[in-house]
């Protein structure tokens, strides 16, 4: 095990996959010499050259489409879109092309492409650089959706995503890149569709992913001090979703709080809640609580930015209220 930053873990995943498979190549804006805005692709140009580490013009729809075409033609492209907000420019290639090619060809064609991007609030980047848009991808059949929260998961999941035959949206979070964590040495993968119980507990289950997982773990620690035993489940991949691990935890704790940074309306949290009530209704001792972003674009002002996405205190009070309802 070695301690690595999230961005270093991603870098190692790319490095190892590019070394072991000549068909893997990466492209995006400023990823070559500059190493990417979040330094995920540093030094890859040096080892693999400009044929496999490609800087693109600011033509998101078309270089993503080029990724789709290269994937259909036998390559394994990893396309980087600088901000998830910019994926709104690539929707035809993603939704109508990549996601549907395998289906439309009756299973004959494959699009083994990874689309790396990052979202979420942080650093005062305002409404067009701070969104959590995962529900849009979640809604599209044919796309897989991965949202790692730790360096270990980031590396293992990215390697699995690159080896997958389907288009995978690999959604990072801008506040996670400098986070450190222990990462196993050498080659390992984390299978897509396997949730991880990040902390065991018995009174209440928190389901959270990406940066909200980190925030939920911090909240869980404080709740433990108050005598509330919290289990924290990280789905890690939202498509495919590991329902079994989620339901197992629900059946154990009988209380559920779902935390998502994305706005509440039409969110993944609502869908997970609907799955739980349908498949584990008899186990629930209280309504499922969803702690989510407000239904608003993200404001620039720091104090206002804080109130539009769940903070640690919001998670703590949601859990307290839920358990309190039960105790009364």
């Amino acid at each position: 095990m070695k301690e690595l930053m999230y961005r270093e873990a991603l870098n190692h995943a790319l490095l190892e996959e590019m070394r072991s498979d000549d068909t893997v190549f990466i492209m995006g804006e400023g990823i070559a010499e500059r190493g990417g805005s979040f330094k995920v692709t540093v030094d890859l140009l040096k080892e693999f050259g400009s044929q496999r580490v490609i800087d693109t013009p600011i033509s998101e729809a078309s270089f993503t489409g080029a990724g789709v075409g290269a994937a259909i033609a036998g390559m394994k492209p990893v396309v980087e879109i600088l901000f998830s907000d910019f994926t709104m420019l690539i929707m035809d290639q993603l939704v109508n092309q990549a996601a549907k090619f395998n289906f439309m060809t009756g299973g004959a064609g494959k699009v083994p492409m990874v689309l790396r991007t990052q979202g979420g609030v942080g650093n005062g980047l305002a409404a067009q650089h701070s969104q959590s848009l995962e529900a849009i991808f979640y809604h599209i059949p044919g796309l897989k959706l991965v949202m790692p929260s730790t360096p270990k998961d980031a590396k293992g999941l990215l390697k699995a995503a690159i080896r997958d035959d389907n288009p995978v949206i690999f959604l990072e979070h801008k506040l996670l890149y400098m986070n450190k964590g222990l990462v196993p040495d050498g080659d390992y993968i984390i299978e897509l569709g396997k949730a991880d119980v990040k902390k065991e507990g018995s009174d209440v289950t928190i389901i959270a992913w990406s940066n909200m997982l980190i925030r939920s773990l911090a909240a869980a620690e404080k709740l433990e001090e108050q005598g509330i035993s919290v289990e924290v489940v990280d789905p890690r991949t939202l498509v495919p979703l590991d329902k079994e691990t989620i339901l197992e935890s629900v059946r154990k704790t009988e209380h559920v709080v779902i935390v998502q940074e994305a706005i509440r309306r039409g969110g993944i949290g609502s869908d997970i809640a609907s799955i739980i009530q349908e498949e584990a209704f008899d186990y629930l001792n209280a309504p499922i609580k969803i702690v989510a972003g407000l239904n608003t674009p993200v404001p620039f002002n720091l104090n206002l930015e804080k109130i539009v996405v769940p903070q640690e205190e919001d998670i703590i009070s949601a859990v307290q209220n839920l358990v309190g309802v039960y105790q009364e």
């Binding site: 489409g65 033609a73 299973g107």
Partner: protein
Amino acid sequence: MYSKEFVTNVYRTLLTIRVFETECIKLYRQGFIRGYFHPYLGEEAIAVGVCAALTDKDYITSTHRGHGHCIANGANLDKMIAELLGKKDGYCKGLGGSMHIADTTKGNLGANGIVGAGIPIGVGAALATKIRKDDAVTVTFSSDGAANNGVFSEALNLAAAWDLPFILVLENNQYAVSTPIKESTREVELVKRGESLGVKSFRIDGNNVFEVYETTKEAIRICKEEKGPVLIEAVTFRHGGHHVNDPGLYLQKEELDYYMSKDPVEFARKYLIDDLGLNESEVEEIDSIVNKQIEDSIEFAKENGEMSSKEFLKFIENY
């Protein structure tokens, strides 16, 4: 002067597309085919001229008006017609239909229901061949309509910035659905758009299969010996409306008459007789082979079964 064998092949392929479209339109009218059907009638020389210059290593991407590209690229007619009928041995097992036929084993990366979307996909295939150092080019069939879509400029620029072995064939049939080109753009010579991006560009008669063939060969040479991409604007005209249920009343009669007089199938047939000295009966023998082949494929498709709902639910279980 082209050889008898070459022109016979060209004529046979042109006629196959012609008969395929004509007979499948009948099937559509009879209710065997549903959904959208965009005939390639009148534009056959482009697909046939281009594909005659390609090898098995090359890639193509096609359009919503894509039957001609598939056939010229060597598609299996049984599987094509079965797909149009939604049958299980169709190219897409009946899940795709007319606008989604692809055969990646033959380098056909697919028709496309979204106008212009095949351009970046073709650029990506060309990028793949460049990275792998394949001795191959990628041809994207596209159109005057697609030229007004954002990805046309983006993707052609990308191909130019990266010197890709990419050939963008614009089938300029002069109408985008029903809107004439002069109403959708000021400069109707689309060849100039390629030039403005530093791309070697040609404007040719899209109804002359030999001109299309020679230009494609030159484009391939440029991609391999100099640097790509290349744009070919092949001017042509539809023999009818945008799709089978569009009578195309907006097509100007004198224009239609002019292009009918330059019919690509008749052109090749005349060449066989006048220039290569085949007699009528020799040409009719080709005609009957083609007709029989389409007849057999229709028979196959009609008798072919459908994917069951159980099989379908199994197919989508990981979606």
